[in-house]
Symmetry: C3
Subunit: 324 residues, 3 copies
């Protein structure tokens, strides 16, 4: 599938496609993918042995730590009766030590498996891997500050599953709007739908990238940038909270000034969140959400968000492997 | 299963229970568990593909090294047709690096799997993990100086399998009686049975904990503390040997003084062991048993003890997952 | 299988045998093994779920990094419906930290599994492991500068598959002829066949070992040592290229002098390679072959060589486990 690699649009056909970026998806493609989720959920929760991926091997090629994403893909494959070959930190563990290139590594695992899921610390690595892998699909499980499409897909599905729609939604994206790939991808996904508004709350130095802002507005997404929590409207259907990392700031002082504003507390929820909204977090949740909110029924980050991640990945694997 | 978590007694019902401590087991529970072992042995040795755990995923969440326990649980799941998600050193490999708490990690893997087996260097970690995991059973695979219940279960089963009973036994527990969780758990297990005597051989500074001694005696276990190998009675049905670690001693001199006494040699066996006894060791065997004894038919540490570990874990997994 | 361990010849019977060295194979044994490859290829490429190894567990006990060999064995087992227990770096991860010997480790995994594949940095480790493992077969996946028999088997099969024979071949073995275990094993394998000639191109200080040269010549293999690329005859059926490692040289200057000679370039191929030859490399390919040659149809190192590795390992596992 060399020709259609990298940035090929899905256009209704998942079989054999690489999944590198959310930009490959149209509104219709999302809905097609989502339509398989209930079946996946049924398989996962009934413990009925599924044979959907029987006889297939998926290599999980993880060049950097991520136990959640690794576990989610791993379980997704096995819930469908497939097998995995787990390669963690090949740069330490393998020939990469001796200087093997990404190309050679990918081509070796292409020969052993039916699909490759790759995680890599460098932006663009997944697309490069896909360009070398001509016979089997490659799925991007996060490439540094690049993309993490399956995270965006599960976020979008969680909204869709909760509200029954992806248009006519208002959301809050908070935290490191400059660097968070999950914020960028989620906004990009929402831009495919009509009458959607996102408020972006971030410190001044971590504002949403200008070029992305312009391009998403052009697509019709209404974006309103705010810098103070008191500007959060009570109409939000969802809050999507990400970390503000200390190391992004030039001084500790500057960091201390803003950090408390970027923690969701019961008080903040009481003041600005309505009763039907949902509170999301891509995890790991490191002081972004007060643990007292874990029992709030609106908190979905340790519940449906995680589970939807597995269902979405099951559906995606079934589709790109041509078994759905 | 929140309500029945942590220290819930088995009381004849394994399904859905967490297995955190040997204290959860009554004499009857042990016998119930043991009754499934012959079937498990048959499955494991016949290579007949079993479908008992088909459609289930068990996450092996190992926060510290233990290739034997990891391998034993891994093989146990797979012998029964189940699948594992292997997470080794999540604190290095995963989001834990970024500061994710044990709670969040456990809840994530709860969403992906049907059971979690946890190994952790800190005492109490398994019970804490279980308290967060409300929907699936958690099995303690060793939590620091806390407990390692499946080790105790396999030790007890090995005695039961050899002698046809767990009452009316006399045993020797040797080595670091102060810190060895395997000695503590085995003694606790034996205290459930009548007319059982244990001799505890240890250096003065590594004596059996006073409070545990008192409580087990109250339950009817006869405990006799000795500090010299010449006090070992020839009536022992079993010797259970553990390591005396150098770092427990305040001076090298003091360590050197006692260490030779805590190695089983052919001569020691000749002097004090009867012909029907068995020699046990929880492994790793690091200078605790002279390798010349490996071929002695009474040595079970590299034979039935290891194999029984797999059978017991198979039975336990089958029971807590409600498949037996 | 204690009695027949280590260096037991195959002699037409694979079942239960340890596979430690290419020296165990006769010409007939190679042909018997090769005869199963087409069936294995069919299973691997059709994605038909095979049940050949159903109900079996193979422990992959890797004491040193090798993602390719690990992945190849892992996929081989799973393509045939078997399961693996993956133990990577047990010296860090496991009881080996606490000082457990290779013997104890091997005997523990013997109890859990139906076969052990061992990779170890020390020469002779695989044979030692096999001598301890009395009940199940052990396969050497590379023991330092010792042997890597499955690599030699896949190399020989690749030649056989290409030319329909292993006699009457002329080949070039280039690079570190002194230390490369793959060169040694391939030459040993070829020595079983008639009218075979190998040219060995290496720097003076990395010449083929004298004793091996003598013994293989005695078996009938024609060996011609050359030190300059201009001596490569155009009649070679294959080129087999290995790395010349900088650290083998006493001075950087000496290394710089020879290194350019040990890279295959399009120009070198144009000058000395005929149109029907194949270009092989055991990988990792670290500046041994110019990447411009990757698209040359004669380059098999990232194509059939890799795939044949999986098929050969599938056949070997099926045979030693008595399922073929």
């Amino acid at each position: 599938m060399a020709a259609s690699k990298g940035i090929a649009t899905i256009n209704g056909v998942f079989k054999g496609k690489d999944i590198i970026s959310l930009n490959q998806f149209s509104q219709k493609d999302l809905m097609l993918l989502f339509s398989y989720v209930p079946e996946m959920k049924k398989i996962a929760t009934s413990q009925t042995p599924s044979k959907l991926l029987e006889g297939t091997i998926t290599t999980l090629l993880f060049y950097e730590p991520s136990s959640r994403t690794f576990g989610s893909f791993n379980a997704s494959v096995k819930r469908l009766g497939g097998q995995t070959v787990d390669i963690i930190n090949p740069q330490q563990f393998s020939s990469v030590v001796k200087g093997e290139t990404l190309e050679d590594t990918v081509r070796v695992f292409e020969a052993y498996s039916n699909a490759i899921v790759i995680r890599h610390p460098e932006k663009g690595a997944a697309a490069i891997a896909a360009s070398y892998c001509k016979e089997i699909p490659v799925i991007n499980a996060g490439d540094g500050i690049g993309e993490h499409p399956t995270q965006a897909l599960l976020d979008l599905y969680t909204l869709y599953d909760t509200f029954g729609r992806l248009d006519n939604l208002t959301g809050l994206l908070a935290g490191d709007a400059l660097n968070s790939r999950t914020i960028h991808s989620l906004a990009a996904g929402l831009s495919l739908f009509k009458k959607t508004t996102v408020y972006i709350l971030s410190p001044d130095i971590l504002k949403f990238p200008k070029d992305l802002l312009v391009s998403l507005r052009k697509k019709g997404l209404k974006i309103i940038e705010i810098t103070d929590e008191t500007d959060i409207p009570k109409t939000c259907n969802f809050w999507y909270w990400t970390r503000v990392q200390k190391e992004r700031f030039s001084s500790v002082k500057e960091y201390e000034k803003v950090k408390s504003q970027f923690v969701v507390t019961p008080l903040l929820m009481k003041k600005y969140a309505n009763k039907d909204m949902i509170l999301m977090d891509p995890l790991p949740r490191v002081k972004t959400i007060d643990t007292r909110l874990d029992r709030d029924p609106r908190s979905v980050y340790l519940r449906s968000q995680i589970r939807n991640g597995m269902y979405i990945r099951m559906a995606l694997l079934g589709l790109v492997l041509g078994r759905l």
